[in-house]
């Protein structure tokens, strides 16, 4: 079967639709499968849960975790919170922006022109005693430095 946004949303509705407060589990299921929550599935999910499109759109856009746009091949999230700032988190983020060719501002991330990387700020990964920290796709990295950052990214390239 072809995996389309509509089929993914349908499967998520079938799996979670009867749970009380099902919207977040459904959106997680869609994003886990597709990498983001495309706008085209919003009416379908709204229909399935008997909500308005505005309600579903409101939830998708409220939470930092949910993305409406496709990301780069790898998602790099660098912690910007205080414990990481105390150990050079600002310098790590600046290095990541240069190394990946991504720009971030405030709470917003950016994707590199070649579509390889999306760089996002993240606010605490719970690795505050081993800072600065980051998460690449689903893998955590702590005690980071610009040099270690380059090693982690080089390994991604080698694995691709």
């Amino acid at each position: 079967m072809n995996v389309t946004p509509a089929s993914v949303a349908q499967a998520a509705l079938a799996c979670h639709g009867d749970e009380p407060g099902a919207l977040l589990p459904i959106l997680h299921a869609v994003q886990d499968a597709l990498g983001h929550v495309p706008r085209e599935v919003v009416p379908q999910i709204a229909d399935g849960l008997n909500l308005s499109r505005a309600e579903v759109h409101g939830v998708v856009t409220y939470y930092h975790h949910f993305r409406e746009e496709a990301t780069g091949k790898h998602v790099v999230q660098v912690c910007r919170a205080e414990a990481c700032q105390a150990m050079g988190g600002d310098a790590l983020m600046a290095h990541a922006e240069r190394a990946l060719g991504c720009h971030t501002h405030g709470g917003h991330g950016g994707t590199s022109a070649d579509g390889q990387y999306t760089l996002n700020p993240v606010y605490c990964l719970g690795l505050c005693a081993s800072s600065p920290a980051m998460i690449v796709d689903e893998k955590l990295h702590a005690r980071m430095s610009p040099a270690r950052f380059d090693q982690v990214i080089a390994k991604l390239g080698a694995a691709a």
Partner: protein
Amino acid sequence: MSAVTIYVPRDSAALAVGADEVAATLRAECARRGLPVNLVRNGSRGMFWLEPLVEVTVPQGRVAYGPVAPEDVPGLLDAGLLTGAAHALCHGITEQIPYLAKQERLTFARMGITDPLSIADYEAHEGFAGLRAALAMKPEAIVQQVLDSGLRGRGGAAFPTGIKWRTVAAAAAAQKYIVCNADEGDSGTFSDRMAMEGDPFMLIEGMTIAALSTGATRGYVYIRSEYPDAIATMTEAVRRATAAGFLGDDVLSSGRAFELIVRKAAGAYVCGEETAMLESLEGKRGIVRAKPPLPALEGLFGQPTVINNVISFATVPLILSRGASYYRDYGMGRSRGTLPMQLAGNILHGGLVEKAFGVTLRELMFEFGGGCATGRPIKTAQVGGPLGTYLPESQWDLPIDYEAYAAVGAVVGHGGIVVHDDTADLSKLARYAMEFCAIESCGKCTPCRIGSTRGVEVIDKIMAPHSTKHNKPQQVQLLRDLCDTMVNGSLCAMGGMTPYPVLSALDHFPQDFGLANPNRQAA
């Protein structure tokens, strides 16, 4: 030769520095040498500067080696790792390492010792003893034990846990809920994460006891999306506990039902506020609700709901198994028991330190933490997360106690301590506090939504190079007025406490704002 038991932690702070690679190398290298080993993935002991910390069981106890890199493994085996032999990375018997030996681990008694997902291991270390005791008690008696223990909410608000439970128990409703707030978003805190990854059955047991005492039959654990390992471990632990009869329609054949569901949050800091979390669980935007009604009476889906933090629930099994007075005998004043504190940021020996209330920040930062990781003097520490104050050296000798901290306008919060060295610029950290509030505000109330953005702008004006002696005091006054509005006019702690770090930076470190004499300029 019988297999030697080796431990390599699976806590995400160990995984983030290569614990999986170390475990794989150990397995492969021992197999190559024909050495039979039983490799257990335990939780972390909470000494994160030593992670990955490999432990080997010998007749005298467990011997610690760390931090171990994969390339250290052959040399360690050559030196006699499996017999606990000496090596440059060896720290002797783990429990005798002063950092651990000086602690009072009550809630975290099993942390790093057991296999987090082994029910047998959990039960061999006093696990489910509290639940079994609770099953033999009347619901009111359970609540009384929790009240008598003096346990207060460990999420930060420090509200007496037993009173919350009593309110829910007394409410009449067909459906009640137990909700665990595991949206631990404060920078510098990781005790909830460690508990969920390193001893998940303890949380399940605590929530089940809460259900028995209040008549709730359904519970949720709301875990932040930034904690993928905690979500995976909790989900598996719930599955195993249900399969073994500790959860489900008939908890330990008592005829009582309790179903537990793990929910993944979606990256909104404000969902750590209890009513915003309820909205999120209901599938809505995480917008703060006005109180009253109290969630204990009208909470999740409008029903009576117990909401506690991970550590609050996790402490209850011990109170039930050893009795309220055992726990209450630790601590000072109205702060009873212990607090698992977290040493973080620029600190040489960062990690989890569980101590009775009354310990001082100076003891934690120097006797446990060993000073800054950079080797420079400590300038300040922020205690209690992004909404906590920056404490100057004059406050480092205060006992860590909810009331003693409140008396100087500081907060103990969730026990997170973020240390900064003397290169820290407090004007930058104050600006960050406002910026973070602007990013994370739910937008419901004006002081928080607009005030945070104005706060960033005013701090920028104070710090601008063209800021003169003439207009700087005006801007500082404006910042103080704005903070006053946020403190007194915000709906929840997000806007109401963002001024805490800002004002403490301004009051205690005026030089960082280019203010020579704070008393004259910012009265």
